[in-house]
Symmetry: C2
């Protein structure tokens, strides 16, 4: 696995059970996954030489993030390495314009969009679709970075001043955000987890509710169908997370990720097969595991670093307060706003389960008793 963040770290938990020998490519030996994986190699994922040396001897190469240059992935594949997902699939999670072109080509529902190079292009787009509009960096954005909601041409000019290639999308007046996590293996087996609701704050996912509360079963099936179709059309191998907007007029695809995803962390404690195990099974072309839930309701809440670096004194309270809460720490130093872990609660009653997860997350990170 190229990259040694928390996704690789949590993948190691599943690799241990499956007897899979997981190797990671880390920037430094104190990264989240490097702390828990014996076969950690140090190197730069932007350097083909480092990637090639890392890949030697691996049965399959996969990713903890989407930042490996597409041309390096193509080069590795050309040299015979089993890179999963492959470059032709992964580019759709790296380049939002390529993704929109492709999704539109087979009818996956997307917001109106266009490539833009100046304020005039955006104004013309807004004349057709209305203000506000959403400008997005075509490559490299995540967790709300690289996205600008623009209400005026002046906003647009400011966003464009960064100099990175942008695209414009119609602003979607969504009711809520959903996510569908699917897996697809090289021989084409596919599986979908239940559709979840993701709750964002300042562009960062703070909470995931599984299954999405009150979602019409037909709309849920439609969301899963769209996600499986995208995985099939793009030839994804491994996991594919499809973030969607639920609107009064139906579903629209927002973003794609091709790796374990924050919207799937609930599966560690709430599904018979965690997303990390599923990703390993998929990239190794093993039969996929059951995505069944192990409880009627599962809520995951992210731990976002607060001002106090010492969580330990609050760790004990949370465990004593709720013996059923599951804690996941990423072995990362606390910095304000940084994802340092998550908590999961499971049960029967959404409001109770959600309150438990929220209490644990808020108390751990701020000391406030909610």
């Amino acid at each position: 696995m190229v990259g040694a963040g928390q996704l690789a770290r949590m993948t190691q938990q599943s690799a241990i059970a499956l007897g899979v020998e997981l190797r990671v490519l880390a920037n430094t030996s104190d990264e989240s996954a490097a702390r828990v994986i014996v076969d950690t190699r140090l190197g730069d994922y932007r350097e083909l030489g480092d990637l090639r040396e890392f890949a030697t001897g691996c049965d399959a190469i996969t990713f903890d993030h989407e930042h490996v240059p597409t041309e390096h992935i193509r080069a590795l594949a050309a040299e015979g390495y089993a890179v999963r997902p492959g470059a032709d699939a992964l580019v759709h999670a790296q380049d939002k314009a390529v993704m929109r072109e492709r999704l539109t080509s087979f009818g996956a529902p997307c917001p109106a969009w266009a490539r833009v190079s100046g304020v005039e292009d955006v104004s013309a787009f807004a004349a057709e679709h209305g203000w506000p509009v959403v400008l997005k960096a075509i490559r490299g954005g995540y967790d709300g970075r690289g996205v600008w909601v623009c209400r005026t041409p002046a906003d647009v000019a400011e966003a464009l001043s960064g100099g990175v290639p942008l695209m414009v999308e119609a602003f979607v007046p969504f009711e809520r955000e959903l996510a569908v996590l699917v897996a697809r293996s090289p021989h084409g087996q596919g599986v979908s987890y239940p559709v979840v609701e993701t709750v964002q704050q300042d562009g960062i996912c703070v909470e995931v509710l599984a299954p999405a509360p009150g979602l019409d079963p037909e709309e849920a099936a439609e969301a899963q169908r769209i996600a499986l179709q995208i995985a099939h059309e793009l030839g994804v191998t491994g996991l594919l997370a499809v973030e969607m907007f639920q609107t009064a007029d139906g579903l629209l695809v927002n973003e794609l990720a091709m790796r374990p995803h924050n919207s799937g962390h609930w599966t560690i404690d709430g599904s018979r097969t965690s997303q990390f195990e599923q990703h390993l099974r998929a990239v190794l072309d093993l039969p996929l595991g059951s995505p069944s839930m192990s409880a009627p309701v599962v809520v995951m809440a992210n731990l976002l670093g607060g001002d106090d670096p010492d969580l330990f004194k609050r760790y004990e309270h949370v465990m004593a307060h709720d013996p059923g809460i599951k804690l996941h720490f990423y072995g990362k130093e606390v910095r304000p706003g940084r994802k340092i872990g998550h908590v999961t609660a499971v049960g029967d009653d959404l409001e109770k389960v959600r309150a438990r997860a929220r209490h644990a997350a808020v108390y751990l990170t701020t000391g406030e008793y909610t």
Copy 2:
């Protein structure tokens, strides 16, 4: 954790989630846990110097096995290390005669027993309690080793010829074997998992049924009470597994273990808190986790190495046949009869769940389709 077998390996999965930095003392770098734990130290657990060096800097010291000499544990504690369980507790899992003396002193139900030094002692015991009798090595036996069922004085003479100190116990005509896993933390919090049935073959546990099918709730509560009482009386810190015989006349304690135990492997997939997480919480004096089951029925089956060292070709069948089966491999070379992993199935119907676990275990190890 002193020792780097599969118990330490599976403890690492929970340590990753809790953000606990787990260090193991291994004999060699290719042992089960050494393969998945970055902070692996090599050394001999029989040498106080190696133990002391290993312990330096650890918040708590615990064990993957019971073979560390009691006097070394006492020495480490005297030097200020937090050794959990401590020597005064652990000796009851190391020395069966000390265990029987102590359990009898506070009324925990045990088979009749006596220390013996010659055939005459055993014959005198048999005159009172009947033949057959069970001779046991006072120290060092496990998985059926160090136990002899003797039907005649000649059998006794043969068992005694090994030269290790033995004790005798009355042969218990049990209906089945049960196990109760409890945890106790240094400040005295205790928790009990549901009572399970363990199925043995040739003295080796092959299957665990959780909860013990058809067990009378009062007898289950009694079994849990006995186990919690033992943990309290002996001052156990960490996990305590109490193996019991269920007889027509009630429960009898068979063996004790003070560490994660084979009879608790089902908790990884079948309980809200795995025994490995619970052990870490207990030895670190953190509040204990919920022992609730995540499904009505859970069955664990051990994978005992067969003649064919290559499980991989059968690994795929098992995953395809049953997407809900959970596989756990220990990273050990296959040798006939060796515990190389386990499988877990969860569900609602005991016979179906048991058949699923059995199919996976038998097929993986022998290729026979049951």
